[in-house]
Structures are given as C-alpha cells and as structure tokens.
Amino acid sequence: MADSQDRKWGMVVDIDRCTGCNGCVIACQSENNIPNNLEEHFNQRRAIQWIRIERYWEGEYPNVKARFIPVMCQQCGNAPCEPVCPVYATYHNNEGLNVQVYNRCIGTRFCANGCPYHVRFFNFWEPEWPDSLKNQLNPDVTVRSRGIMEKCSFCVQRIRRSTREADRDGVQVEDGDRGISPACVNACPTTSLTFGDFNDETSQVSIMKEEAMSNRGKKDGRGYRLLDNLGTETNVIYLKKVDESAGAVHGH
C-alpha cells in the first residue's frame, strides 16, 4: 500500500451481483448517524440516503424486468460540486476523496445543484432522535445540524481509524475484508461492492478496474462509469448487468 499522499480510494460496483436488498442502505445509516427518515420526510422528497438503490422498470407484463443499481457519491476526480462552493466546504483531498467539511458549510446548496448524481442531501431540519436512540450514534461521526449539506464520505472515519491503527502497529494498511472498508461494502451480502486503492496496482479494485475498463466496448469488458460523458472522472466503476436476453450490448 502506498503512502497517504499517493492513495486514491475507489469502488467497483458489480450490478450483476446486486439484488437490491438495501443492506448497504441500512449499514450506511447505522454507521453515519443519518437521521431517521420519517414518513413526512419521504412525502416531502427530503429523505436522506447517502447510498440508495434505484429501481428501473423495463418492459410490460409478463416480459417485465426490474433492474437495481446502488448509487452513492461517485467521488469524482473532476467534481462539479467543488468549484461552486463559496466557502470551500467541499473540496478534493489528496486521497482522491471528495470531502465535505460540515463546519464550513453555510448551506447555499450550490453543490447539490451541481451534482449530476443527486447524491448530496441537505438537512432541512435539525436531526432528532429520542434520547435512548442517541446511545447508538457513532462517536466517530459528526451529527449534522440543520442547514448543512451532507453526502457519502466513503466512510472516511473508517479509513482514518484503519490508518491510525496501522500507524500505531507499524504495519501497512490493507484494504478488503480485514482492513479498510466502508460500512456498505462490509455489509453487502452478494459482494456487489468492492473498495480499495486505485493507485495500488495489486489491490483488488485495481485489478477489477483494469480488467473491466481495458476491454471497454469489447465483449468481456463490463466496466462503465455513470454519466461518463460529463467528464466527471468518477472513482466508482460499475460493472454491467449480464442479461441473457439482451442479445446485443444495450445502451451504447
């Protein structure tokens, strides 16, 4: 594993494995102190989910398909949310993460307007929990107050924790199961999500990315980026869903 300066965190999402179970969604809410999404929050279209499962319909009964795709912050290399922030609350750190600094944020919501992936969420209310439920809150993660923008951080607190522990023990940080992994990756029962360092050629994500992207457009290249034509250079690589009945390659 390379030094902190040279790391570039990324994720590979295999949508052929994803079943749309929402395991990642709940894991994220538990890890990141996301306020309870109450009924009225859904009705106002203001529910917060840093990672979400989108479901798309195709076709009509009986030849109907439902397709699932997990979408989280794509940690763009060329992020549309960053230059619009007047207070540098969102910026790029040197590990390739697109970072949100809560105590700088003044809530202009320009970043949310700029984000083509709609993965930024605004706290329209002061987050509330009954007292006893507050016992569950993760002490490593700030509770965001009203008027603050928030989004997926690739569980930066877990990255920091692993780094700190590795430094303490004088060992290299490992990615994968036993080392650094965001809550969603850790939970995913089908191993649809894989996390790691794209700058480390030996990491699993690098190998997967290399295999997926080098054969792009060819038959066995399954890799693609969401809304790639926007030039956002995302650090999340998706692997295409395999559909026996697709015949030819869709979507190109």
């Binding site: 109450l38 529910a47 507050k134």
Partner: protein, 751 residues
C-alpha cells in the same frame, strides 16, 4: 467608505499579489487532511472500541454478528466473518437490532395491569412480586390438577432457549405452542420427508449453474437470505461460467426481479409446474430407474396426468415453457431446485413443495457440489434447531379451548398472537375467556399490551443464548449468544429492569420447586454446562487446553463448529403425491398475493424506524401499507398511485394505498405483511393495515397450516388520496438517452 481611484488600484494590486503569493505556497498540507471534524488533536484519546461476537435474532436464521461497543454502548452491528452461516455478511434487518436495544418505548420494569385490558394502564411491580404472581397462578392450577390449562406460546426458538421453554412446559404439564405468522411447517415437513432432515438443508447456490426456484423469496426474506445472497453473488460472477436462474412464482418478488427468467404461473400451480418438469424428465429417460421408482411408487403412469400438455392451461404457461425448463434443468451440470413461500401457502402446499424439492432427487444433486447439502444432527443432546410453528388449524382449536374456558394462564413470548392470527380464528374475542395473560415482551406489541402481567425480557444483545442453525451449512455448528452490553435498564436496580426469558422461567421453576433436569441455576450456567460437553468432544474450531480457555474461545468467535462433522451424503426420495387444484377462497376479481415485507418481515420489525424507512425493493414504498396492482388495470379503473382503496376478502377488509406497477399480473394484487399494529411503540402503532387479519381459513391439506396465498379479493377506491411515502423520485431519475445510460447491460454470451 468612499474609495478614490488611486486607493482602489493600490488595493487591487495588493490582493492580486497576495493571490499569487498564496498560490505559490499552496494550501498547507494539514489543511487538506481535514475530512470532517473527526480528526482529533494528538493529545486527545479517541475512544477505544471493543467488538463482541454474538448471534443476531432479527430473522428466522441466526447470523453471527460482531457488535462494536464503546463506553458500554452498542454502536454498530456487522457480520462475523468467522461464522459459517453468513461469513461476515449481513442483510438489511441485522443492523436494526440496535434500534430494538435502544428503543424509546422499551418496557423497563415488570408491570401489572390496573385498568381494563388494552387500556394501557399498568403499575410497576418488583421482579419478586411479578414472578410470585406467575407462580401463584400456576400453583393454583397445579393444586386443582389443571396443569394443562396453562399454555406457553413462543416464537420458533431452538437450542437453549427452546430447551428451557420445553422443559418448563413439560415438567409443569403446560401445553406448549410455537407460533409464526407465516408458517414454515409445510416446508419443514417436506424437508423431513424428502431429505430426512429435521431442519433446513443447505442449498449450495454458489456452485450451482442452473437454479430453479418456486415461490420462495429467498434473496430477500425466505429462511436464510443472507447466506443465499452470498451464494447468489458467487453464482453470478464468482466463476467463469455464470449461473442461470429461473424463478416460477405467481408474484413478481425481489427474487423474481433478479432471475434471468420469471415464469408467472397461476397462484397455487407452482407444484403442478414442478411435477410436470419431473414428468417430462422421466418420460425423456433423464432420470435413473431407482429414483423414478421411489418417486412414483413403482408405477410412473399416473405422472402422465401432469405432462406439460395436460397442465399447461391450468398453470397458465405454454407446454413449451415447461419442457424448455425441464430440458435445461436436466442438462445442466449442477441444477438445483428451491421452493416454499407462497408456493407452500396453498391448500396443495405440501404436495407442491414436495414436487419442488424432489426435483433435486431427479437431478441427483444430494450431498453434491452445487446441490442440496444435508446437515448432521446437533452435537449436543437436547439442543435442536428451532421447530416449525404449530399449524393454523391447531391455533384455531386453541381458541376454541379458550372459549370453552380450558385455558386459564396464557404465557406468550415473542409471539404476537393478537396481531398475527387472522380474524377468522376469533382469537381476540375469545381471549376474554382467559383469566390471565402473561407476556414476556420487552415492547408493548399488540399482545403484550393486552396482557395482565408483563415480565419484560432482555433484548437479545443483553442476553445469553445459543443457536443450532435453522439452515445449517453441512457440518456441525453451534452459535453462541452473549450479552454485548450490560442491560440498558440496569440502573433501575435488581428488582426492576428487564430479565432474560429463560432466566425468568428458571427462577419461576425454583420458586415452584420444580426440577427441570438442567444443570445450573442461571441460564448462563446451563449454557456453560453444554459448552463443557462440546469441550469434552475434543474436536472442532476451538483448540483449548482448559475449559475456561475453550469458553472464552467460543464467546470470542461467536460459536463452535467442526468442518469435519458432516451430514449424510444421500437421502431416500419420497413418493410424490399428485398436486390437486388449489382451493381459492372468496369471489373477488383479484387473487390476493400477500408477501413478507423485506424489512418488517411478518411484522416483527415494525417498531424499528430504520426498518419502517427502508424502501421496499420493488415499490420503494416505506412506512405504509400499499397494494400493488398492474398499472394498466389501474388506469382502466381510474386508480392512481396513492388512492386509498378498500381490499375486501370474504367480508373482511383493510385499506391500503394503491401502488400501480408494470409487473403485477393483471388478475392479482399484492400487499406486504407487517403493518397494521394496534400498538408496538411510537413507530408502528396505528400505521397501515394488517393483511393477515382479512385472510380466510384455507388450510394446507397435509399439515393444516394457513394457506395465506389463497384468497380472492375485490378492490374498491374510497375516493381519498394520500401521498405514498416512497423513495422513488426522492432524487430525479437519471436521464436516459443514447448518451446517458444508467444501467448498462451486456449479453450473456460475454461470459
């Protein structure tokens, strides 16, 4: 302040210079490392976290979990990567255990009722008093020789919890019932007859290459979804050859959505489809004579009634579809068949699931890679996997006994009878004839809030226990559950707060001087004694030189297992039964296909806000009860999303919000189980409708269990409209055109 032109130019020059200057320096590196205000200064000690292994009790199959504990509070649940069942993975329901532990509406002391039943008026009493009240009632029955008028009903519990409950009931002479709203007795009886197994076998989905499933929503809710999902991921992309999955179901479930092919059959005809696949395979000579003889009883002629041509019309598919599936199934290297769920919830459920599971005998995959892996018996005598629930027919007889005054003390643990039993059983009314209802509920669920005496139990993260897997992995496993935090209500003192269910039973039997034949005074002692037995075996995953280090080892790793102690490799096929036409009750124009909610299951998780807010995989709806209806049918009837409709079956009805979608068959509607609780805390009380309540009493003919998928209903708009709380459209849909694609597909031959 007024600026002169000269002052302005000076200032501009200065700031431009400053900009160049700062640019050259770059932003200090430390600044760039700030990620959120979590990076502590070096002189601050970040909290030390401890991770404890235990067992999860959110689903039917216990998963091994590790819980992150800081400062005595549980913070996060993750899968235990050592534990054989889930191997570090976990599903969406698992994490919500934390919200059960810290639920604001937990009961913090024993309660005795002071107002009328259901009024919610209770008074706190001490544990000593509470246990005395229970034992007094029981001793009164004992004195009059009416021990059989005490009834203990629990959810399906196995291993030590089951052992203590069973011993308590049998030693006292009480009647013992196990209750589960969505009964598994059909599937369990079939598994026993077809595979000779007491508990569920393992399905090696990972190594299968052709998966044929019937009815069971095994990727979302059925038996052991995390384990099956893990296998599914590997089945898809873990090997060079991508597996193919065909799902035969009357509803478009989350599992159907993930299949390569969803074959919609008429409700209750899944078994005919399976039998027809067997018939075709037999007629083509793909099945060995021994198996054919065992399956048909020596004369295979009767099977021809179920030839694809003969059943196609009733099943609602073409004969070619069946033969095509049969050919693919028999010509695959590692075919596997799974079934249950709605396929088992019909009058022909037993014979249907029997046909489905017998497909594995046809494939000859028992004990083989990619097939059905059988489990050994439990390594400890007396410890067994949780049994299936008693059948609905048995519960109907129980309510008759209640009415006849033959039930004096009804003890309930983890079984929400007031919620889950369909109205036709008359349980609610007849409960008035039971003088004493005792609940061990830690929350005011619909049954606990009707109880006369409440002995609130620990949350499972505060309690001891063990688990013998409901669906094992092909070798011996015993999971260990330990308290990961001290009881939340500990500060209320020894005589208030909560206590473990098994510990209360042990304490009650000590008061009554009843010898349960168990070693140990407390539940922990009893478990330790069994652990000693495991230690005495001298094999398995924990290598220890003393019992104490063995005990620490099992608690640390969350269990004990022996990969070499495998189950049998073969099973004798059972003779198939003909699959009769399903009995469908009612005369409405739609078949009602209820389904277990992906988050609330049968309603047990309704009190947890994360579960209420979890979008359903298919509809993305949350917090409410919705009814899925085909969008074209809805349009014809002028029904739009959010219209409040009345769904009526045989004179009973609930209201639900219409949720049109393109996948619901035009002749059917679907409603999730799980909502419609009268009580259950602030997040579930009075929310949505309970579809269990309106079901008619249709039984599976072989087991008497409730055929919950066998009702016809009518759907009538009430004229009201409510916005459906759903996740869909919370964020705008991605643009979809030739340049922008969200879900890209590739053809199967790429792999």
């Amino acid at each position: 302040m007024a600026l002169t032109r000269r002052q302005f130019l000076t200032l501009m020059g200065g700031s431009a210079g400053a900009a160049v200057f700062f640019q050259a320096c770059g932003i200090p590196e430390k600044e760039l490392l700030i990620d959120s205000p979590i990076e502590m200064p070096e002189d601050l000690v970040t909290g030390i976290d401890n991770w404890y292994a235990t067992s999860c009790r959110q689903c039917d199959t216990c998963e091994g979990i590790v819980v992150r504990v800081m400062e005595g509070r549980a913070k996060k649940i993750e899968g235990n990567s050592d534990y054989p069942i889930n191997m570090g993975k976990h599903g969406p329901r698992c994490e919500a255990g934390l919200q059960g532990l810290y639920h604001p509406d937990r009961i913090s002391a024993p309660l005795v009722r002071t107002g009328p039943r259901g009024s919610g008026e209770y008074r706190e009493i001490s544990w000593e008093d509470a246990i005395a009240r229970l034992t007094n009632e029981l001793q009164n029955l004992q004195d009059s020789g009416d021990e059989g008028q005490a009834v203990l009903v629990t959810n399906p519990i196995g291993a030590h919890h089951g052992l203590v409950a069973d011993k308590f009931a049998s030693t006292f002479g009480a009647r013992r019932f196990t209750y589960e709203p969505l009964e598994t007795s059909v599937v369990r009886k079939v598994v026993s007859d077809v595979f000779g197994q007491n508990a569920m076998p393992d399905f090696d989905i990972e190594n299968s290459d052709y998966l044929l499933s019937f009815g069971a929503d095994f990727l979302s809710t059925w038996v052991s979804p995390t384990r099956y999902s893990r296998g599914y991921g590997e089945f898809r992309q873990g090997h060079d050859h991508r597996g193919k999955m065909v799902h035969v179901d009357s509803r478009f479930s989350a599992t159907a959505a993930n299949a390569d092919e969803w074959i919609r059959v008429n409700p209750g005809t899944e078994g005919m489809f399976a039998l027809s696949v067997i018939q075709h395979a037999v007629s083509m000579g793909h099945v060995s004579d021994d198996v054919v003889n065992a399956l048909t009883g020596g004369d295979s002629d009767w099977l021809s009634t179920y030839s694809p041509e003969n059943v196609a019309q009733q099943v609602g598919v073409s004969a070619e579809t069946i033969t095509h599936v049969a050919e693919d199934f028999t010509h695959s290297d590692h075919p596997l068949a799974i079934g249950g769920g709605s396929a088992a919830a019909h009058s022909n459920g037993y014979s249907a699931v029997k046909a489905v599971f017998s497909l594995n005998h046809v494939a000859g995959n028992i004990g083989k890679k990619g097939g059905v892996i059988l489990n050994p018996d439990s390594p400890v005598d007396g410890l067994a996997a949780a049994p299936a629930g008693n059948s609905f027919a048995e519960f109907q007889r129980l309510t008759e006994d209640m009415q006849a005054g033959a039930v004096k003390v009804l003890m309930v643990r983890g079984a929400d009878l007031f919620y889950g039993l369909p109205d036709i059983a008359g349980f609610k009314g007849r409960s008035a004839s039971v003088p004493m209802i005792v609940s061990f509920g830690g929350m005011m669920d619909d049954t606990t809030s009707m109880a006369d005496l409440i002995l609130p139990e620990h949350h499972y993260l505060e309690d001891w226990g063990t688990d013998v897997p409901l669906a094992g992995v092909g070798y011996e496993v015993v999971g260990f559950q330990q308290p990961v935090v001290r009881p939340f209500f500990e500060d209320r003192g020894e005589n208030l707060g909560t206590k473990g269910f098994a510990d209360v039973l042990l304490a009650a039997s000590q008061v009554m001087e009843m010898d349960l034949g168990l070693n140990g005074e407390t539940f922990k002692d009893v478990i330790r004694e069994s652990a000693r037995e495991l230690y005495g075996l001298g094999r398995g995953s924990i290598n220890a030189s003393s019992f104490e280090s063995f005990w620490n080892g099992v608690l640390q790793r969350g269990g004990w297992w022996d990969v070499n102690a495998k189950g049998p490799n073969t099973a004798e096929p059972a003779r198939l039964d003909g699959v009769s036409s399903p009995v469908i009750s009612g005369s409405g124009e739609f078949t009602l296909m209820p389904f277990a909610s992906a988050s609330l299951l049968d309603g047990r998780n309704a009190s947890l806000p994360w579960m209420q807010a979890m979008p359903d995989p298919i509809s993305t709806a949350t917090w409410q009860t919705w009814v899925e209806i085909n969008h074209k049918v809805a349009e014809d009837r002028g029904i739009k999303e959010g219209d409040v409709v009345t769904v009526s079956a045989s004179g009973r009805s609930i209201t639900a919000l219409a949720m049109p979608n393109p996948a619901t068959p035009p002749d059917a509607v679907s409603i999730p189980f799980g909502q419609g609780h009268r009580d259950g805390g602030r997040y579930s009380a009075g929310r949505g409708g309970n579809v269990l309540a309106i079901l008619d009493a249709v039984h599976d003919q072989a087991t008497g269990s409730l055929a919950w998928a066998a009702n016809k209903v009518s759907v009538t708009p009430t004229g009201e409209w409510v916005r459906v709380p759903k996740f869909e459209n919370t964020v705008p849909e991605f643009p979809r055109d030739e340049h922008n694609h969200v879900i890209e597909l590739t053809s199967g031959d790429a792999h």
